[in-house]
């Protein structure tokens, strides 16, 4: 057993998992606050990254572009709440889910009409190459960029935690998540809260889009990152932010270890389903996910 290599796979997997978590976070936020399984999160990632990169390519400063994109995402969140969600209040979850799929088409078409379908490169100034001292001393390749992405996710989770726990809006959000009707009864404006949640999810989409875009380039395929987030979601639970992070780490690490150590015996490519099977097995033990809310059935 080559331990250096094992640790490289493990650490690489954990860091890849962080990237999955970034996408999963967007899903969790919206599910937590409105019970909507937002399939359009992947398109939002694509939309945000494409807007950002197109603005910078037109000569805009990095930070200005980020601010403008954030503004666009907030507006988008508000519009979605107005046009799509508000008329669908009180519909079954599957209808809302379906509406977000419709939204996916709209967002994908819109972003390609506005910015074209050509792929773009995105450089954030952090080279995506292994750290030399580590590969020299221990023969372990860890990318600087992955560490940076992990740091960003950490900060993002911390900010979200503070936002949810300490601010007025955050408390209102949690109240809405617990019980829509009760929240309404104590005078929390449900619709504002939903708009805010979608705007925050837009922000998370922007961050995820930047990270994934810098990694693979900004192109239509960014929408596929949503598929990577789904097993993370069921493992971690749809309503839990720590669950999204922990689920990402577990999925990332086990998926990479399996592909490297088990995959070759089966002709490879097991990554495509392995994460789902882990999540599935896990669910058999705990049907509500790692940190999901326990469901009590009443008759």
């Amino acid at each position: 057993m080559n331990w250096a290599f094992f640790f490289e796979v493990l650490i690489g997997g954990l860091l890849a998992g962080v990237m999955y978590s970034l996408v999963a976070l967007g899903f969790v936020l919206i599910y937590k606050a409105s019970g909507v399984f937002n399939f359009a999160q992947g398109s939002m990632v694509f939309f945000a990254a494409l807007t950002f990169v197109s603005l910078t390519e037109r000569g805009m400063n990095l930070w200005v572009a980020m601010a403008v994109t954030l503004g666009v995402m907030v507006v988008l969140g508000i519009v979605i709440e107005r046009v799509v969600l508000r008329p669908l209040v009180n519909q079954p979850p599957i209808t809302l889910f379906m509406a977000t799929i419709g939204l996916t088409f709209v967002l994908e078409g819109l972003s390609q009409i506005v910015w074209g379908s050509q792929p773009h490169g995105l450089e954030l100034g952090i080279p995506d190459v292994p750290m030399e001292w580590l590969s020299k001393s221990a023969n372990i390749n860890i990318s600087q960029f992955d560490l940076f992405a992990a740091g960003v996710s950490g900060v993002l989770v911390a900010v979200l935690a503070v936002f949810f726990q300490k601010t007025r809006i955050g408390r209102a959000l949690r109240a809405v998540a617990d019980d829509h009707q009760a929240a309404l009864a104590v005078g929390i404006p449900l619709q504002h809260i939903w708009a805010i949640v979608w705007a925050v999810a837009g922000f998370v989409a922007l961050v995820a889009g930047l990270m994934w875009g810098a990694r693979n380039g900004v192109q239509y395929s960014l929408t596929f990152v949503a598929l990577k987030a789904l097993p993370v979601l069921i493992l971690g639970g749809f309503e839990s932010i720590p669950g999204a992070i922990l689920g990402g780490l577990i999925i990332g690490a086990s998926e990479k270890l399996a592909e490297v150590y088990i995959g070759p015996y089966f002709g490879g490519g097991i990554e495509s389903w392995f994460a789902y099977v882990i999540a599935l097995l896990f669910l058999l033990v705990r049907p509500e996910g790692l940190f999901g809310e326990k469901r009590i059935d009443r008759v």
Binding site: G121, E123, N141, D146, R215, K228, G263, G267, E271
Partner: protein, 439 residues
């Protein structure tokens, strides 16, 4: 309101069922491609090239032999079902129906093989599609022109051998075949295995699940194998991701050889600096310096027409690939006109033209396509016709040609093609044509 919409819909459908505008002296060629979705850059570039070339012919020469070329776009989304629908929609288009089809998708090509053969419409799958269709005896209507995946693969191995200093130096070398886990990606597994046996190198096939936007595990495995070369057989986002992942794994990019669906500008630009030094195969060269491309710019873009929205893409790999496809299609029609007369031709007649294509160096010169593409000679036996590729290296800004035309090794490929085609013929109960009886 609803009723009005319905009325408009019905009117449009009626017009479309009845068959649209009345065309007389026109040759119709459908442009069933894709302009949305993950593969839009390939689809829009390629069909941009074909249409630009046809437009140029129409403007410069008034079509081919006085017959104007027309086309109609149909969105397939790179999806089999939509591709079949587009095919069915285009095949009865007046005046003669679809005369030749470029599906630009291996999957759609597969779905069209039987349908097109039954409808007598030739399918040109230039550089993709079903490799054993190169055996024209079994597949009379399918033309994997210029080079097939297998031919290209032997050229890649030849290139690697040349880099190593001779084919005998390949012995004991390790080559990784990193492929997209799909029909397209798997196509070259057997031909690589045969070559590995012949030259004594060791080949490891590593699959990348669709869409290929996460390849850490695969590259860790490559790092463990420490191969001398990596052959990249990707499509779409898999390509830039592979280049990025190679950089992360510290694998030298100039030891990576991509095949031609991994070697366009769109595949390397998203990878940024990570793509520098990467090598890819090509059967058409990029650039606007060729006289044929000059004409496209002069007669089409300078007149404010042109199919590409983004003018910076003129002369990019996908665009010139489309122009090459346009040249081949036009030449086939020209040949067929010489036999059947200067009038709109049916698919069956154009098929004859494709099967008798002979674009030699002299003709290439007349076409202004020397260097843009290679000479091509198709026959009833051989529906491929060329077989050679050049290799390009990306320097961070543009593709540079680093070899001359490297021919494929037909001594390996041809027997495999014939065997595979014979199996298909047996499975489907097809009696292969006797090529000596074809005129």
């Amino acid at each position: 309101m609803k009723r009005k919409n319905l009325a408009i819909t019905l009117a449009a459908l009626a017009a479309f069922v009845a068959g649209g505008a009345q065309a007389q002296n026109e040759q119709f060629i459908p442009a069933n491609g894709y302009w949305v979705g993950p593969y839009a850059p390939g689809g829009s570039g390629f069909f941009g090239g074909i249409i630009d070339y046809f437009q140029m012919l129409n403007t410069r020469d008034g079509g081919i032999g006085g017959v104007k070329l027309t086309w109609e776009k149909c969105e397939t989304e790179y999806n089999n079902a939509r591709g079949v629908e587009c095919y069915e929609r285009s095949k009865k288009h007046p005046p003669t129906g679809a005369s030749v089809i470029h599906p630009l998708s291996t999957g759609i090509t597969y779905s069209l093989i039987e349908k097109a053969t039954a409808d007598k419409i030739p399918v040109i799958s230039m550089g993709y599609g079903r490799t054993d269709a190169a055996d024209g005896r079994v597949f009379p209507y399918i033309f994997p022109l210029i080079t097939t995946y297998w031919s290209q693969n032997t050229a890649v191995i030849k290139f690697i051998g040349r880099k190593e200093g001779g084919m005998d130096k390949l012995k004991g070398k390790k080559i990784v075949n990193l492929y997209h886990d799909s029909a397209y990606g798997k196509e070259t597994l057997p031909v690589l295995d045969v070559q590995a046996k012949k030259y004594g190198f060791e080949v490891t096939h590593i699959a990348v699940p669709h869409p290929g936007n996460e390849q850490q595990a695969q590259w860790l495995e490559i790092r463990r194998i420490k191969p001398d070369w990596v052959i990249l057989r990707g499509w779409g986002v898999m390509n830039p991701t592979a280049l990025k992942a190679a950089a992360r794994a510290g694998y030298p990019r100039d030891k990576m050889v991509g095949e031609w669906w991994s070697g366009a500008e769109e595949d390397v630009i998203p990878a940024g600096d990570a793509a520098k030094g990467y090598i890819a195969a090509a059967f058409n060269l990029p650039g606007t310096s060729f006289p044929a491309m000059q004409d496209v710019v002069k007669y089409v873009y300078n007149k404010g027409k042109g199919d590409l929205d983004d003018k910076t893409r003129i002369g990019s790999i996908y665009h010139t690939r489309g122009v090459v496809a346009g040249i081949i299609t036009a030449e086939a029609i020209r040949d067929a006109q010489a036999k059947y007369g200067k009038k709109p031709l049916t698919g069956e007649q154009v098929r004859w033209g494709i099967e008798h294509l002979n674009i030699d160096d002299k003709r290439l010169k007349e076409l202004g396509a020397v260097g843009l593409m290679q000479a091509l000679k198709v026959s009833c036996m051989d529906h491929e016709g060329g077989g050679a590729v050049k290799f390009l290296q990306w320097d961070g800004k543009k593709w540079n040609v680093i070899t001359d035309w490297i021919s494929s090794d037909q001594s390996i490929v041809r027997p495999m093609i014939e065997q595979s085609a014979a199996q298909y013929a047996k499975e489907k109960g097809i009696t292969p044509r006797d090529c000596s009886k074809e005129s």
